[in-house]
């Protein structure tokens, strides 16, 4: 079903396509430049020059490794919610809030009506796609997660906030498709937060994707997905990209009880561990994935964005994925 959709979009992907969830670590020079830019010591142009250089580095790296569906690496983003809040109307960027351990982010505050005014990610998608013949995913954060990850001082409730965001985020999806993106990933890591709100998340994603010609992936991680499974399969996307390895592949048991009916991007390496998995471990995980999803429906990637790893660790983890997939393809053939 989804293979047909991919082909109709002009995409002929190999078996077990390899991809990434979105973010890659920023090289040191870019990290330092971001700090200097925040202090007003370098110009926006200078920062952007380094962001382009880092994006080129990651596109080249993914090509050299032999990845099939590429990402731009999000070298221009701070984090997945704040970046969109900074580039839409209606938000104020708040102070630092802890997300876990020693990690913090600037949680936006919705202070007035949210409005999409101009393309946000299209410039970077175009730039990344211009560097490669492989498909590059369009990447954005979904309305349910933006709602859940912002303070709200304007809308009466969560539902009104979420649906208003959905109507605006759809405009970004339309702009990406207009630019030529055929695979679009909508990150919804907050999906399992309040299981009773799954219908709201579905309604919002429907607004974002309805009738648009693209293959839609939704990424989610570090939640209690067993609580929204199998209901989550009713969401209007083609592919779920799920963190599996950090939680010992616990979800597989649920997929055995109730069939997973969409394409699955299967997280085979833990992005929160410095340890580089060996190829055998990843091959074993892929085999376990194949027990619940047919080979035509299985994509292989890391659990989540690799931005918390070092550049070397991120590349090493991707290399293991490509090698393991190579072995599996040979075994299947």
């Amino acid at each position: 079903m989804s293979r047909e959709k991919l082909r109709a979009l002009g995409l002929d992907l190999p078996l077990l396509p390899t991809t990434s969830v979105g973010s890659f670590p920023k090289p040191n020079e870019l990290q330092q430049a971001r700090t200097r830019w925040a202090r007003g010591l370098i110009s926006r142009d200078e920062l952007e020059r380094l962001e382009r250089r880092a994006t080129e580095f990651w596109i080249r790296t993914q090509e050299e490794l032999g990845m099939d569906v590429l990402v731009d690496g999000e070298q221009y983003r701070g984090d997945m919610v704040t970046y969109f809040a900074e580039n839409m109307r209606g938000f104020e960027i708040g102070g630092l809030v802890r997300s876990y351990g020693n990690r913090y982010y600037r949680k936006p505050i919705i202070v007035s009506e949210v409005r999409w005014e101009r393309p946000i990610t299209v410039f970077w998608w175009r730039f990344a796609q211009s560097l490669t013949a492989k498909p590059v995913k369009g990447m954005l954060t979904g309305p349910y997660t933006v709602m859940d990850w912002c303070f709200n001082e304007y809308y009466p409730d969560r539902r009104a906030t979420c649906l208003a965001l959905a109507r605006e985020i759809r405009k970004e999806v339309e702009a990406l498709i207009e630019a030529g993106a055929r695979i679009i990933q909508i990150d919804e890591p907050a999906l399992s937060v309040r299981p009773q709100e799954l219908p709201l998340a579905r309604e919002a994603l429907q607004i974002v994707t309805d009738g648009l010609p693209a293959y839609f992936i939704s990424h989610a991680c570090y939640g209690a997905f067993e609580k929204i499974y199998p209901e989550m399969l009713t969401l209007p996307v083609d592919n779920f990209d799920l963190e599996m390895s950090n939680s010992n592949l616990d979800l597989l048991e649920h997929f055995k009880r109730s069939p997973f009916t969409k394409d699955l991007s299967f997280g085979v390496v833990d992005v929160h561990s410095h340890v580089i998995e060996d190829v055998e471990t990843v091959v074993a995980r892929i085999r376990q994935g194949l027990e619940v999803v047919p080979a035509e429906a299985l994509w292989i990637d890391p659990d989540c964005g690799l931005k918390t790893r070092t550049v070397e660790e991120a590349i090493a983890k991707l290399r293991v994925i490509v090698e393991a997939v190579g072995r599996m393809r040979a075994a299947i053939a």
Binding site: G94, G95, L96, V97, R98, S99, Y100, G101, N102, Y104, R106, K107, I109, D148, W149, F151, N152, E153, A190, S192, V193, R194, Y222, G223, A224, N246, S247, N248, D270, H272
Partner: protein
């Protein structure tokens, strides 16, 4: 009625100015092996001192150490116990915050006091009384994975957590804590066992000596539990009103035999509540409480807010609370 203005637990461990980021930087330097554990301890001490100073400046009567040293509400306690190892990340209720899940690999034992030193330090830098806060046995048990076979049984997990936490309660009481807060948010989840939850609290109550226990519950609607909570062997019930639209009415009608911790101010959103609405709720609640004291506090710890907003929330709480103080 004596209305005591207090905090419900955590306070931000970071802020926007460079001197409010020393703990983050020290932890990052420690990861690069450029700082020692003693450096971390000093940075934590400094941020505890600041958290307490800000709570006092805002006007609170009773403060906490801000749980500045806590990696998260689960692994900070579980990780200090023998018999555990710490696993991957899991979202903490419906917040944007993640905790590390403990795995029980061996029999749970308390090899040393968990929070007593932290409590003593907080007292030493506070001009106001300090309330120690710990996570309760039921919540720790629910969020722990069992590698050891006997712990696949939730009852055994609750029992053993309760045993080690009872020792801690006794030590905190001996160290001078007059009021000890026990957080049990897991009781708002689906499919809970109220009996196991109550049994865990009974074990803690037996160990409290002359201290009083405050049970705090957040992140869910507590109205359906309200009657049964009144029967628990605790001295104060801390309730999160932000999830419980019927709760003010219910308490106004049924009253409360216990002192209440009134979580009327939302500790999770930056928006400042209408002063008139909170005051109207207090007008109805306070006469219904058949106790000498009541507590006014945010609905949760304040770590979910940026530092400047957390401070403003406390100021807002104090502004409203002062109208009701004797």
């Amino acid at each position: 009625m004596n209305l005591i203005l207090t905090n419900a637990g955590s306070y931000p461990r970071i802020g926007d100015t460079p001197d409010e980021q020393i703990l983050r930087q020290t932890l990052a330097r420690f990861d690069r092996q450029e700082a020692t554990e003693a450096d971390i301890r000093r940075a934590e001490d400094e941020m505890v001192r600041r958290a307490i100073a800000e709570q006092i400046e805002a006007g609170l009567d009773l403060v906490t150490d801000g749980q500045i040293r806590w990696y998260d509400p689960i692994s900070h306690i579980a990780g200090k116990l023998g018999g555990t190892k710490i696993n991957g990340l899991l979202r903490y209720f419906d917040t944007n915050f993640y905790f590390r899940q403990p795995v029980l690999v061996d029999r749970l034992v308390r090899e040393c006091p968990l929070l007593v030193e932290e409590y003593r330090y907080a007292c030493s830098v506070s001009s106001r009384p300090v309330k120690p806060v710990l996570t309760g046995p039921y919540t720790l048990a629910v969020f722990s994975l069992a590698e050891r076979a006997e712990y696949r049984d939730l009852e055994r997990r609750v029992e053993d957590y309760a045993t080690v936490l009872a020792e801690e309660i006794a030590d905190l009481a001996a160290a001078g804590a007059d009021l000890i807060q026990v957080d049990e948010p897991a009781i708002v989840l689906d499919d809970v066992s109220f009996d196991l939850f109550a049994a865990g609290l009974r074990a803690l109550a037996r160990a409290k000596g002359t201290a009083r226990l405050a049970l705090y519950i957040s992140f869910g609607d507590v109205s359906p539990l309200y009657e049964r909570l009144q029967d628990l062997p605790v001295d104060v019930l801390g309730l999160d009103f932000t999830y419980s639209p019927q709760l003010v009415d219910r308490i106004a009608v049924e009253g409360s035999a216990k002192a209440l911790g009134l979580g009327l101010i939302d500790g999770r959103n930056t928006k400042l509540e209408s002063e008139a609405e909170i005051a109207a709720a207090l007008e109805r609640l306070l006469p219904a409480i058949r106790s000498e004291v009541a507590y006014l506090n945010p609905s949760t710890g304040l770590e979910f807010l940026p530092r400047d907003r957390a401070f403003r929330k406390l100021q807002h709480l104090v502004r409203i609370g002062l109208r009701f103080k004797r």
